[in-house]
């Protein structure tokens, strides 16, 4: 039987933003990285507080972000568990200096920060998202997708 006190203890995972942004971003297969964190104890309510770090080798493309390499480091925040394997991820400055890296960063900046570009027409992203979600998966008539 699972101890309720242990069940209430939160599971803590640390992820670099570049990895976390891909999880559930719906651009790639989702959940796979969290699945691979895979300490079974997490799901059984044990008191596990660990920090996970990851190393990403860009090889010139941020699209290679999914290449995750296990490291032998064990970094424990609580100090209660010393031997949980961890993975380290980072983006090398060299990679960001490459055109692809900065291009990808520009794409992210445009997604997350900037002013909309100049057009006096329409932006279809939201409607495309609606069609993807509703039309293709749920078979709702396209007329329903009209915004506004």
């Amino acid at each position: 039987m699972v101890d309720d006190n242990l069940r209430a203890t939160p599971v803590r995972v640390s992820l670099p933003a570049s990895v976390a942004a891909d999880i559930g971003s719906l651009k790639k297969a989702v959940g796979s990285i969290l699945d691979k964190l895979g300490c079974p104890a997490c799901c059984s309510g044990h008191d596990i507080l660990f920090e996970l770090q990851r190393d990403i080798v860009l090889k010139g493309k941020l699209s290679d972000r999914a290449q995750v390499f296990a490291s032998s480091n064990s970094i424990m925040r609580s100090g209660s568990l010393q031997n949980i394997p961890t993975v380290r991820v980072g983006i090398t400055p060299k990679a960001v200096n490459k055109i692809d890296g900065v291009f990808a960063a520009i794409e992210r900046v445009a997604e997350l920060s900037g002013h909309a570009a100049c057009a006096t027409g329409c932006d279809m992203r939201f409607q495309q998202e609606r069609i993807f979600v509703l039309d293709e998966r749920l078979g709702v008539d396209e007329q329903v997708m009209t915004l506004g």
Partner: protein, 489 residues
């Protein structure tokens, strides 16, 4: 004002509006374009859309500077046709960017973007009266002083019909550029829209403007919606527009650049063959530039004030009244309150278009939140979004819009525990960029099954406890990357 009366633009060549979506095409053929036109505000953070401070993603500008070809700065945040004066903070950042990229001139829109304190969320047509001319001239002179560059104003699209008390489109532009002593960015697709939509013919417009002041031309593709041809930048230019451009370009003796506009969303959908076809068309047109410029161009006298005085002055709004009425109508969907009944339909269109941009900003910045809402609300999503659009004014910058939406969802009591966690997860990335600090997101359980369900367009179930705390660490770029060019207003 800085004196640019003798300015003649250098012959830069053909180009595209820069976006990350251009990457594969530049890799495919890095020398095919002579020019990259940069919209700097798309790489900024802003704490307030009007007053700033504004922070530039300097690494991005540095990369652009290193790419082959000439660079031109095309501002999208300081439209010069309304009573909102050009923002000093934005202008200073644009000045620095233009200097770094060695942009020979800066272009901005001869449009209205709302009132001085209220964004319409869309570029709207300026009031084409004497007072409208004076307003635009004042703005252009000020903008040129602050940016320390020659300024070219872009001719806009207008889905509204011209009012009886207004000058013709060409006369208005002619008056403005002559009095402000500036250049023209002739957007031929905008003119094409205006012609197809019955507002003004291209020939009529061109017969009224000083063609020697055209420094730059824009071309683009569009799409039909609700009986209007939209300037949607969604692909190749129409064949008819290409044919018109070939003839028009011959009459432009001082053309410095010919740039193509295509929105990132659509750039992702075209292949190398289409890109190559567009650039071949641009090159063909460019090679004809100015070839018939010795042909005398008859410049018609602009409409004088006396023509306008024939109309009852009580019906002529001030620029302030014009902007307020348009902005409120577009933002608040009060289309029926216009005194011009023919405007009801186009004002509805403006509302729809403005909302499409706001919705798309949210889909980009809050992908998990929006997917969850779409699945949960299904047919009621329009009603929900409409309530938001009517309640909250447009924020222009993605993080501001995203944060405003999440706050509104909370106040609207729309958040359930799972949606709250998803909004926190999405907002965490915006906060990391702005604050540069790790963010902790609480999830009611293992988020993997939630993300999987969203990807499959299934309504996710709330995961069982324990709670997960996901710490998201800054690792790619944060506010530090924006700090090297931050301008306080």
């Amino acid at each position: 004002m800085a004196e640019y009366a003798d300015f003649r633009p250098p012959k830069l060549g053909i180009g595209f509006i820069f976006s990350a979506g251009l990457r594969p095409f530049l890799q495919h053929n890095s020398s095919v374009l002579d020019v990259l036109e940069i919209e700097p505000q798309t790489l900024w953070l802003a704490d307030d859309p009007f007053q700033g401070p504004f922070h530039e993603f300097t690494a991005g500008i540095d990369l652009i500077a290193e790419l082959p070809g000439h660079k031109l700065v095309h501002s999208v945040g300081v439209p010069l046709g309304g009573t909102r004066p050009p923002c000093p903070a934005q202008s200073e950042l644009l000045r620095a960017t233009a200097a770094r990229l060695d942009s020979p001139w800066i272009s901005e829109h001869l449009s209205v973007a709302g009132t001085p304190h209220q964004a319409a969320g869309f570029l709207l047509p300026p009031l084409q009266t004497e007072k409208g001319v004076a307003t635009a001239v004042r703005n252009i002179r000020r903008f040129a002083e602050m940016t320390d560059r020659p300024v070219a104003i872009e001719t806009g699209v207008a889905y509204l019909a011209r009012k009886p008390f207004e000058m013709s489109d060409g006369s208005f532009v002619a008056r403005v550029v002559e009095e402000a002593d500036c250049g023209i960015l002739l957007d031929l697709h905008n003119l094409y829209c205006n012609e197809l939509n019955g507002r003004n013919s291209i020939d009529s417009f061109l017969s009224e403007i000083p063609l020697e002041r055209v420094w730059e031309v824009h071309l683009a593709g569009g799409v039909e919606m609700d009986g209007y041809w939209l300037d949607s930048h969604n692909g190749t230019m129409p064949k008819e527009l290409f044919a018109r451009a070939v003839e028009i370009i011959k009459k432009l003796p001082n053309l410095g650049a010919l740039n193509f506009e295509i929105f990132d969303t659509f750039l992702n959908n075209i292949d190398f063959d289409i890109f190559d076809a567009i650039t071949e068309e641009l090159r063909f047109i460019w090679n004809l530039a100015g070839s018939e410029s010795t042909v005398a161009v008859e410049i018609q006298s602009p409409v004088s004030e006396s023509n306008i005085r024939d109309k009852p002055t009580s019906l002529i709004p001030s620029p302030e009244e014009w902007e307020h009425a348009l902005t409120k109508s577009v933002w608040k969907c009060e289309h029926g309150k216009t005194i011009w009944s023919q405007d009801i339909e186009p004002l509805s269109l403006y509302t729809r278009l403005a909302q499409s941009f706001r919705g798309s900003m949210l889909a980009q910045a809050l992908p998990r939140t929006m997917r969850y809402l779409l699945i949960r609300e299904q047919g009621k999503i329009s009603e929900l979004m409409q309530r938001y659009f009517l309640s909250i004014n447009p924020k222009l910058y993605t993080p501001l819009e995203a944060n405003a939406f999440v706050k509104w969802l909370d106040e609207d009591e729309t958040l359930d525990p799972l949606l709250r966690a998803l909004t926190e997860y999405d907002i965490a990335f915006l906060n990391i960029i702005r604050e540069g600090l790790p963010q902790i997101v609480k999830f009611p359980g293992n988020p993997a099954s939630v993300f999987e369900a969203l990807a499959e367009a299934r309504m996710p179930e709330q995961p069982p406890p324990p709670t997960w705390e996901i710490e998201i660490l800054p690792d790619s770029f944060t506010i530090d990357d924006f700090k090297s060019h931050t301008i306080l207003s």
